[in-house]
């Protein structure tokens, strides 16, 4: 065990970028086309433009904050900036957000599994098994998770995009019109709100002190955002072009339904959507373990504990209970919408707010 546990708290900027992409690509991406179209209609495929700008701003302020407080995570610096009590409150809100977000993802994932792959398996079993296994890498720290994320990214993202290529012949690009009919303000607002569903950005709250070359972290996160928004752009655009505005709003998960429209009877596997759903297992796994890691690390820092891994198994029953709490899909979706707003508060508003207060109160190093 000697060498197993040494140097496992450092990741490269490239690994940070991959983690950001992998953590963001969770079940929320399949509902994205619907929630966006509900907000801005046919212009939803344009949201990646303002979305990229707003998320870049959030990333920029998070990196600046980390430069002001080198070697410190948000748990320490938010207490320094906002004072002990309000700072702790903020940290607790963020931890609660991570716990409930992983519960939300697990629940959405279990629902999808039940509908598509495991028709007779209780969702409790699906949620429990995923949670149990995802806790394993979270115990070993950030480095193994980064390693895992790289392999997952290289395998699943090409497979997912490859499957999407089969849909393109059905696309009717008239469905993408009209654009700019409602003025730019609505689009900007939707872009700002969409930042709340990019959970990957929250990694920067905790992980920035663990980067081997901190100078490159802004560049790496920008790349991660560019890749993410391109994926969302492709998914959104294709889904909207295939289904059209009206139909997209009626579908629970347009990003999933679209794969079910493919039929390729000559292939060795008949139902491509099952393969697609199976790749989601691989995409969810690192997200859940990452949230477990983030929550346990922040909790350990908040309570001044040295080891984060003893907190992981105590967290799992909480997440499990939260995940089985909603009684139906509609409730889950309402919770998801609520959590997205909290996400906007955490990554859309707080970084700028914290940065300004730090500047006004002259806290932190002089960068």
């Amino acid at each position: 065990m000697r060498a197993l546990l040494r140097d496992n708290d450092r990741i490269t900027p490239f690994e940070l970028a991959v983690l950001m992409v992998i953590v963001t690509l969770e079940m929320g991406v399949t509902t994205f086309p619907r929630t966006m179209t509900e907000k801005v209609g046919t212009e939803s495929w344009l949201i990646p433009l303002p979305g990229f700008l707003f998320s870049l701003l959030a990333v920029y302020f998070l990196v600046r904050l980390s430069k002001l407080f080198p070697g410190k995570t948000f748990v320490e610096y938010s207490q320094e900036i906002l004072g002990s009590i309000i700072g702790k409150l903020f940290v607790i809100i963020v931890i609660a957000f991570w716990v409930s977000t992983s519960a939300r993802i697990l629940r959405q994932f279990a629902d999808v599994m039940k509908v598509n792959l495991l028709f007779r398996t209780p969702i409790e079993v699906i949620i429990f098994s995923m949670l149990l296994f995802a806790a394993y890498p979270a115990r070993y720290g950030i480095e193994p998770m980064a390693r895992l994320a790289i392999i997952v990214a290289f395998v699943t993202i090409p497979v997912g995009l490859f499957l999407f290529a089969f849909v393109i012949p059905q696309a009717k690009f008239d469905n993408l019109l009209p654009v700019f009919a409602q003025g730019p303000l609505l689009l900007l607002k939707a872009g700002f709100l969409s930042v709340g569903s990019l959970e990957g950005i929250e990694l920067l709250l905790v992980l920035l002190p663990f980067i081997t070359q901190p100078r490159k972290s802004l560049k790496a996160s920008t790349w991660a955002l560019a890749v993410l928004w391109s994926i969302i752009f492709i998914v959104n655009g294709v889904v909207l072009a295939v289904f059209g505005e009206k139909e997209v709003m009626y579908l629970l998960r347009p990003g999933l339904t679209i794969i079910q429209t493919i039929e390729l009877p000559t292939l060795f596997v008949e139902r491509l959507s099952s393969v697609y759903v199976a790749t989601w297992v691989a995409l969810i796994f690192p997200s859940i373990s990452m949230f477990l890691f983030l929550a346990s690390t922040s909790l350990a820092k908040l309570f001044g504990l040295k080891e984060q891994k003893i907190l992981i198994y105590p967290l799992t029953p909480v997440i499990f209970a939260l995940a089985i709490l909603p009684s139906n899909v509609l409730e889950v979706e309402n919770i998801a919408n609520f959590l997205e707003q909290i996400g906007v508060f955490i990554i859309g508003i707080m970084p700028l707010f914290l940065f300004l207060i730090a500047k006004i109160r002259k806290k932190g190093g002089s960068y």
Partner: protein, 485 residues
């Protein structure tokens, strides 16, 4: 143990004794090169009465023995240790020193072709059980004074010779120190095979994966040394160890480099694919037939259903019966003498498979699955890795039994997470894919042209990173350029 006593130098001489262990020394050396000169030639040179005892001793030591390697020791324990290792101890009455004479010679197996790692193109010599023969096999391949061989003894009782091999100007000192440190930490009474060492020095015993590469091929060890790895040779076994080991290095065969790069790359891709099949095929059968029949194309689904008609067991029982039978066959085949082993293979594979299908115990698709799995697992070049994946196959079959395709992917994710946590002497097990090192990908899933591999693997952080002049022109390009003139 043989004691040979006589009087040296006639009447005025001294009592002397030769002590050696029967069977570990070369008798002709003792008769011709030690006893003959000491008994007759010392007599003939007529030791002068005037010569002092000291001078007489020096004469014996310097001029009388026609053997290449002799040394003096004063401690009793040291001489006993060397006696046990096959040296001849020569004692002269009146002198508090023992002369150790190297006359080792014992029966040993010659150099034969390695049986566990056969290749089509490449050298046919494999390691044997004698340490010195094995180090010579490496020396013959790398004629560089920077190839260092350090010998240590491990094992309280066996005192086994362990040779540590490394390239002094390539190997990363941290890795080297780590290896030395772990070897020195070993406290045991016996090292009977390099497998003992492997288990003592590996990073974690809580893993099905080998974290040390064992090989019988000297060319493989030489290639490893040139990549900056450290070789460990153990006396009395043909299996050498190479550290650090990564999954990538364990999936390679030395033949990949002897074939042209396209062929080498193709066989590597086949191998990775085979490894994947060996891991997931039976569990996919279970998952698809019992959880997701809708994923199988309709006609295939119908023929699977037809073949399983009358089979009284659920798919997972079917799979466990057949996989269990194949494991039995494999183990039986290994233990039996080779001609009978092959017969067992034929009897088991063909007859039981055929009979099981006609007796409606398993479906014929299941037999095909099991056969494909077995063939695939033979395509993995390292036995240790193949056996690890064989073990994990059963884990995945259990996962598939309970959770179908979801279980398989979850199982694969946990295996991957485990590999991500693994390290071998500070090097990540999944290098070069993760941590991602684009320049090392040239020698992973594919084996790029030998001219393109100008650097040693970067994850080994070698002292001398270049294999060849990085700025050198491609020889092919150069030849064409000359032709144009």
């Amino acid at each position: 143990m043989v004691f040979r006593e006589w009087r040296i130098g006639g009447e005025q001489g001294f009592d002397a004794a030769l002590i050696f262990v029967e069977g570990m020394v070369d008798k002709t050396v003792i008769n011709e090169e030690i006893l003959r000169p000491l008994m007759f030639e010392v007599e003939e040179t007529k030791v002068d009465k005037a010569t002092s005892n000291e001078e007489f001793y020096h004469f014996i030591l310097k001029s009388a023995l026609s053997v290449a390697d002799i040394k003096e020791v004063e401690e009793y324990d040291t001489s006993v240790f060397h006696l046990m290792a096959g040296m001849v101890v020569f004692l002269i009455d009146g002198f508090s020193k023992a002369i150790l004479i190297e006359a080792k010679g014992w029966e040993h197996r010659g150099i034969t072709e390695p049986e566990t790692e056969t290749i089509i193109r490449g050298p046919r010599d494999g390691f044997s059980e004698t340490l010195r023969v094995n180090t010579a096999l490496i020396r013959r391949r790398i004629r560089d004074p920077n190839l260092k061989i350090e010998t240590i003894q491990i094992g309280r009782r066996t005192k086994t010779d362990i040779a540590l091999l490394y390239m002094a100007d390539i190997a990363e000192p941290k890795i080297l120190d780590d290896v030395k440190g772990r070897l020195n930490d070993i406290d045991t009474d016996s090292i009977l095979e390099s497998g003992y060492l492997e288990q003592f020095i590996e990073d974690t015993w809580l893993s099905p994966f080998p974290q040390v590469q064992a090989t019988e091929r000297p060319d493989e060890v030489a290639a490893g040394l040139l990549e900056g790895r450290v070789g460990i040779l153990t006396d009395n076994t043909p299996f050498a160890l190479l550290v650090p080991a990564t999954l990538n290095s364990l999936m390679q065969s030395s033949e990949d480099y002897y074939q042209r790069w396209l062929i080498g790359s193709f066989t590597r891709l086949i191998r990775f694919f085979a490894n994947f099949l060996a891991l997931v095929l039976p569990s996919l059968y279970i998952a698809l037939t019992s959880f997701h029949p809708e994923m199988i194309p309709t006609r295939l689904a119908l023929s699977i259903a037809a073949s399983r008609e009358g089979v009284p067991f659920p798919a997972f029982m079917e799979a466990f019966i057949m996989e269990g039978a194949i494991e039995l066959l494999r183990e039986a085949g290994v233990r039996l003498p080779s001609p009978i082993g092959q017969t067992v293979g034929i009897v088991g594979g063909l007859i039981i498979g055929e009979a099981a299908v006609s007796a409606n115990i398993v479906g014929s698709i299941m037999v095909i699955t099991v056969a494909l799995t077995a063939i695939s697992s033979f395509a993995v070049p390292t036995y240790d890795v193949a056996i690890a994946f064989r073990l994990l196959r059963f884990f995945l079959m259990i996962m598939a039994t309970f959770l179908g395709l979801y279980g398989i992917i979850l199982g694969l994710m946990i295996i991957l997470s485990h590999m991500a946590t693994l390290k071998s002497f500070g090097v990540s097990y999944l290098s070069p894919w993760s941590p991602f090192a684009p320049s090392d990908l040239k020698d992973s899933l594919i084996r790029s042209p030998i001219m393109a591999m100008r650097k040693r693997p970067s994850f080994m952080s070698t002292k001398d990173p270049d294999r060849m002049d990085v700025n050198r022109r491609d020889p092919e390009e150069k030849r064409n350029g000359e032709a144009d003139k």
